[in-house]
Structure formats: C-alpha cells, structure tokens
C-alpha cells in the first residue's frame, strides 16, 4: 500500500501523478484511479543537507521513482547508499512533522 492515487487516462492511457483536470497528452477528462504497482526503480535522487525551516536533519535522500505500472512519484528514500536504477519497495509512512503532527507520504526502502 503506497497511499498514492495515480490517474490513468481513459482515452489515451497516459498515467499521471499528481492529479490533473485534463490529460497532459490528449486533454481527456475521464480517468481510472490506480495505485502504484510493482517495484519502484530509482530514476534520480539527491542527498539534501540544507533543508527548509522545520526540518532539522542532514543527509535526507529524496528521489524520483518509476513503478512497474508507469506511475512516477517523488518520495523519501531510506537507503544509505542510493544508486541510480536500484529497485525499491514503496510504503506509506511519516515523511515530515507539520505543527507537531506527522505528515505521511511515500517512503522507499531498498528491496532485499
């Protein structure tokens, strides 16, 4: 369970995340809601040491992944040694604290 809802265009099949009111490719307005499925491949990442106000940490790995069913998403990568192309498993977990409460998002851990 990734907690993310992606959208597949009923007309042309383009997979989009986040939501758009019209398809980025064919301008269609009807979509099938889908969940990311399969392994997530790490397309790119960065290791951030200078985070914004309210996030007091170093070495936070943020990356963009593509799932086997075509959904692409940004997430928090929990890997000590990230590599381009590595396979990750997606979970829905706390990614940030906002106003003292955890905010949830996509967390990605290396697949054993």
């Amino acid at each position: 369970m990734t907690g993310i809802t992606a959208y597949k265009c009923n007309k042309c099949g383009l997979v989009m995340y986040p939501k758009h009111f019209r398809c980025l490719k064919c301008k269609g307005r009807e979509f099938e809601e889908i969940e990311p499925a399969g392994d997530a491949k790490l397309l790119t990442y960065t290791v951030v040491d200078q985070l914004p106000w309210g996030m007091d940490e170093r070495g936070r790995v943020l990356g963009i992944v593509e799932f086997a069913n075509g959904v692409k998403a940004t997430g928090l990568v929990k890997a000590d040694d990230p590599k381009l192309g590595m396979k990750l498993k997606a979970e829905w977990g706390p990614v940030r604290v906002v106003g003292g409460e955890p905010a949830y998002g996509l967390t990605l851990i290396p697949k054993k």
Binding site: V47, G54, L62, V95, R96
Partner: protein, 394 residues
C-alpha cells in the same frame, strides 16, 4: 505591435540590505531608471512590479500601490506580477505588451525582493512553496533539491563533472568582481572549492551533487527599466535599445512528470519564440544573461536555448567561449551566482545588464561591440520560463 525601447535602467546593489524596507528598495531602483531615462515630469502610464513573495518575506501586500505612492507616480496604473523566480521577466513582458499594444506610452517596470528579512532556512522554505504541495513539498523538496536531482541525471547523461560546475562558479564570481552591483565580491579557485583535501569545509553539500558554490546566494535587491516608444525615447535622447523578441513557455509543475527529466522544454520553447519574434538566431547573440541559480543550469540552459548542442556546453565553458572576451560571453554581470538572486528582481536585473552592455557602459566587464543580447529567466524549476532578445538599433 509598436517597437518598444528600453529608455532607462536602474538598480541598487544586491546585498543584505541593512536599512530600509522593500518599498524603499523598489523605489530607489525605480527612481534610478526614471532619472536615467530623463522623463522628469512626463506622466508614467503604468507600473508593473515583479515580486514573488512580499507577503511571506516581508508581511506586506499590495506593494505596487505602495511603490507608485512612494515615487509620486499617481494616477499611474499599478500591478504586482508574480511568477516565482521569473516574476521580473513576467513584469517586463507585461510592460512590453502595454507599450507594444498602444495601451501605454511610458511604463516603469520594477523587480525586487527583500529575502534576507528572514533566516536562511525560512527563505529556503518560502521559495520551496513553489513545488507541488503533496507530490513534492511535503517530502522536503526544495529548489536546490530539484536542481540536485536534475544535475545528477544531466551530469550522468552528458559526462559533466564537478570540475565543469566549478568553472561556472569561478567564471561568474570573477565577473562579479567587475560588477559593483554584485552581492558576492570574492575570487574563488578550483583548489579552494573542489580539489583541495579540505575543500569540503569551504564548500559543503547543499543537495548532492550540488555544493554551496554551485548555488546562488540569498539576496536583497531591486532593478528597474523604463519602457517607451521609439519616438519618446528619441525625444529623451536615449539610445534605441529595443526589446526585439519575447518568448514564454511552461512545463509540468512536478519534476517527476516530465517525459525526459533532463529536457528543459520550456527553455527551448521560450528561447525559440524570442528568437523568431526578433528575426534572430543564437549565432547573432553577442552577450547572454542566463539564470544560473545553480551552476548546472548555466550549462543546461546554454544548450537548450540553442547556443551549443546538447552535451557541448561544458566543453564550450572549458574552452573559454563563455568568458568575457570569448565568442559568447555568458553572465558578464556575475549572473545569479555572484550578482545574487532576489527572486523578483532577477529578470529585470538581467535586462538592465544587457542594456548597459549594448550601450557600451558596462565598465570593466564590457563585452566588445555588443549589439544583440539574450536573457533567460527560469521560473519554478523550469516550469515557467521567459526569454528576451534585446538589440541596439542604429
């Protein structure tokens, strides 16, 4: 459309402003442009203000109204134009359209931001509110983080190394030393920021593979231009530097949705439109001001705008092509890297620099015989981009 002349330019030094508020900064730059144009008591029809986030940075809104009041320009029309870090470019486009269409005869465009009123991490957060709230921002994605993810792919694809990124930083900080308006006045060396075993102390990671010296500083600053018709510019006895081409294009909000994340489509399209409108080509450009908020962007933009083939921008940089005195000087002002990047000011400051270059008044950083200039103002992470071609007419 009527031709539009940039008859006056003005700036204030980009720095951490210790005295005065945002409106005083904007008014000083605006006044400098009015004085430079010599408009005296001629009425200004409209004021367009490029500013990204005065509410968040300075707890002040309706800043364009405050600006006309400060400069005694009433009853001029006044609006703030917001387009993230391309707010200045968008304000110029709006001013251009007002004069070109015949709606206005004299327009003052001011761009400015007072970012140092908040601490660094807060400024980073304010700028990061441009990212997609649920798909990016919630994870702590910042503009440097987006640039880091872009840089990793671009460097891998085109064989760009940290040496090349350092060359951008060194060139632009050297140019900044020749620009009294530049925030960063410091010579750096490749040894000091990259090759010395302890270089990481001077140059720590921001968003790997980008380090401190790959990123522009957080600055306060303002810049202004006065736009008018060729006839009025002639009456004012000002050089005929015209806005010959304007282009703008957008791309997906979230970086992840780009089909090829190394392709800065909006840069290519905005530049193409500006060149077409100007009847010019990249080879006609004598001097360019690119949006080097991160060193990787100067290289990538120089390719996407059409100056070099994809993958050849770094070689051109290494060969000295983009130095002042090279075939295509890029960022003689020092760029965002050295001049600074008060977000709303940048697009206007780029045009101010080009006007100084085309008038031949750029001092020690003057590009010889510059007749045609190009600027690129990169909003968001390349999701709303403006390009301009400016030309000195005989």
């Amino acid at each position: 459309m009527r031709p539009v002349v940039i008859a006056g330019v003005g700036m204030i030094p980009f720095e951490r402003t210790e005295e005065g508020g945002l409106v005083e900064m904007l008014a000083t730059a605006g006044l400098n442009a009015l004085v430079d144009a010599g408009v005296d008591d001629r009425p200004v029809d409209a004021v367009y203000l490029g500013n990204m986030a005065s509410g968040l940075f300075n707890h002040q809104e309706a800043v364009a109204s405050a600006l006309v009041d400060s400069l005694a320009l009433m009853p001029a029309a006044a609006e703030r134009v917001e387009n993230g870090p391309a707010s200045g470019g968008s304000a110029i486009k709006n001013g251009f359209l007002a004069v070109a269409s015949g709606f206005s005869d004299i327009v003052l465009v001011v761009g400015g931001e007072k970012m140092r009123e908040v601490i660094g991490p807060k400024a980073t957060d304010i700028v990061a509110t441009m990212t997609h709230p649920m798909a990016e921002y919630v994870y702590g994605v910042t503009l440097p983080a987006q640039a880091g993810m872009f840089a990793r792919l671009y460097m891998t694809k085109y064989g760009i190394t940290r040496h090349h990124l350092a060359q951008v930083a060194i060139k632009n900080q050297n140019n900044g030393l020749l620009n009294p308006y530049a925030h960063i006045q410091m010579k750096i060396t490749e040894e000091g920021i990259l090759t010395h075993p302890q270089a990481h102390i001077n140059n720590p990671v921001v968003a790997d593979p980008l380090y401190l010296y790959d990123c522009c500083p957080v600055s306060d600053g303002a810049a202004a231009v006065l736009l008018t018709t060729p006839e009025i510019a002639k009456a004012l006895k000002k050089p005929q530097v015209i806005i010959a081409g304007v282009g703008q294009a957008t791309d997906t909000h979230a970086l992840q949705e780009r089909e090829d994340p190394t392709d800065l489509k909006a840069v290519t399209l905005a530049a193409k439109k500006a060149f077409e409108m100007a009847g010019a080509q990249p080879k006609d450009i004598d001097v360019a001001e690119l949006h080097d908020a991160f060193t990787i962007l100067e290289i990538a933009e120089s390719e996407h705008a059409g100056f070099f083939k994809k993958g050849e921008g770094a070689q051109a940089l290494d060969a000295g092509v983009t130095q002042i005195g090279g075939k295509l000087p890029i960022n003689p002002s020092g760029g965002l890297k050295a001049r600074g990047h008060p977000v709303g000011a940048t697009g206007v400051a780029q045009i101010v620099e080009l006007v100084w270059q085309l008038r031949g008044t750029a001092g020690k950083r003057q590009v010889k015989e510059a007749q045609t200039g190009f600027s690129l103002n990169f909003g968001g992470f390349g999701n709303n981009v403006l390009a301009f071609v400016v030309r000195r007419e005989a």
